[in-house]
Symmetry: C2
Subunit: 296 residues, 2 copies
């Protein structure tokens, strides 16, 4: 990874951790277990890609770093809640998350369900507050965009579509639609959020949304490629869930070579969408290059 991209990622990740830590409730303030579970799930690391997109896009419009981090925290709380619920036995049934016991293992299933609910609810509370932006119209626009991306026509709808298509061979266009809902929409809103905060014109908002959608899909193809290559070279221990479930992926349908090519095209396309922006979009451009070359 490019040195300056790595540094930028680490800076966002560190600042985000501090902001989330400050926003999250304290178990000592009479909200014991629920606060512990919310903190456990939120502060256990992760790539923090969505917050990175928000912070970088906010920079394009000279938005206050603190406001961008607050919005990025709200989005990361939503991403975190989705991971907590996805890991539940009735869903993907994963005991581990980021190398640690999943929330329902560390606590109980009930605590996992409720702490996910609490993080989702808290995200919208945070977004409604004046510290995000003096103009309440901007706050409403952020809430609308983020809620739409997370709900039945976004992340949650994609997650159910994914569960329903297990052991099913979806055609390519359906897989792309599924990915677009499941991860693409939240990527897009994360990147758009900086533009909303900066009251940027629609044209720039859609350029950033388009960038993030291409980036998200390229990211997903790279994930599938790393997974497929893993199954060929490893003993099977590292075989991921998609292969165990016999689920169709973009790579299993397109084949490795075509998928690699497709990821490169998407990355180039993502960078092209950034043409309206000057050198301040450098890290977003580097990110598009990085996602299709990363080894893990």
């Amino acid at each position: 990874m490019d040195e300056s991209l790595l540094q930028a990622l680490e800076e966002v990740s560190g600042a985000l951790h501090d902001k989330m830590d400050a926003l999250l409730p304290n178990p000592e303030n009479g909200v014991g277990t629920i606060a512990e579970a919310m903190r456990y799930a939120s502060l256990s690391g992760g790539k923090r890609l969505r917050p990175f997109l928000t912070v970088q896009s906010a920079k394009l419009f000279g938005v206050s770093h603190d406001a961008a981090l607050t919005v990025a925290s709200a989005i990361e709380f939503i991403h975190t809640y989705s991971l907590i619920h996805d890991d539940l036995p009735a869903m993907d049934d994963d005991d581990l998350r980021r190398g640690q016991p999943a929330t329902h293992i560390k606590f109980t299933e009930a605590t996992a369900i409720l702490s996910g609910d609490a993080l989702l609810t808290y995200a919208f509370q945070i977004l409604s507050e004046p510290s995000v932006h003096a103009d309440p119209g901007v706050r409403c626009e952020l809430i609308r965009s983020i809620a739409a991306a997370s709900g039945f026509r976004g992340m949650v709808g994609g997650q159910l579509m994914d569960l329903e298509s297990e052991h099913e061979e979806l055609p390519l266009d359906q897989i792309i639609r599924l990915q677009r809902l499941k991860t693409g929409e939240l990527f897009a809103t994360s990147c758009e959020a900086g533009a909303i905060l900066g009251k940027a014109p629609w044209q720039m908002r859609s350029a950033l949304r388009a960038y993030a959608h291409d980036l998200g899909l390229a990211f997903q193809i790279r994930d599938d490629l790393l997974d497929a290559e893993g199954t060929r070279t490893e003993t099977g221990k590292n075989v991921k869930k998609d292969h165990k479930a016999g689920k169709a992926t973009l790579v299993s349908i397109m084949g490795i070579e075509r998928a690699r090519e497709q990821a490169r095209i998407l990355a180039a396309q993502a960078i092209k969408h950034l043409d309206p922006f000057d050198d301040k979009a450098k890290h977003l451009r580097q990110m598009a290059e990085y996602v299709v070359t990363r080894r893990g």
Copy 2:
């Protein structure tokens, strides 16, 4: 029940059903199962008490009926999501809700978890939209109030406290705190919502909050009383969950006579909080009388 109260309740309930029906996604529009489950859980009846509070308080300030119904729908979606998640096997494990199969029985556990998540998310999307109020500051204030009432310091926090206290004899003040979080806060915000929509002064907002808190607690005591009386006169078939779990209730601690007296005091106190309002608060006053005399 007073004829005019009954009529007012039925009017709200009917108009709310139509509004929720219009707001909910259609399964035909490419969001199949998730839309079906959201509709199934939301449109299956219920007392619609929270929407009633919102509509009646909105009337005090001459707020548009349509806007009040939209906000009431958002609140009822949040109440509905909480019932879906509460009924899950990992939580209260109830197969029936309002005489119908619970959402996780009618569909699957995964669908129940996700449709609850979707309803919660959609509630905030609805509240962010201009149809609620032309002033985005009002929309943000509604979102802040409703999110705070539903989250870790409100409904979700109370629900976890409730689960954690099973088979435990909580002292009276802790039971009251639990009820305040679990149901009182959402009652309070439902009633406050009309005042927020009407840009009412703080004094009136807190009067309505205080009314709703007293009403909510009186309602809860009456529930416990009906339950306790049921266990003495019935065969046991109608014994409710609280007794089966050996859970302490306000009635089991105070005794039936004191509890009855307490409910009457709370109802009178609730009505007293409505002193600043004229005859337009008639149905709210009648509601306070009704909750402590109802037979079911």
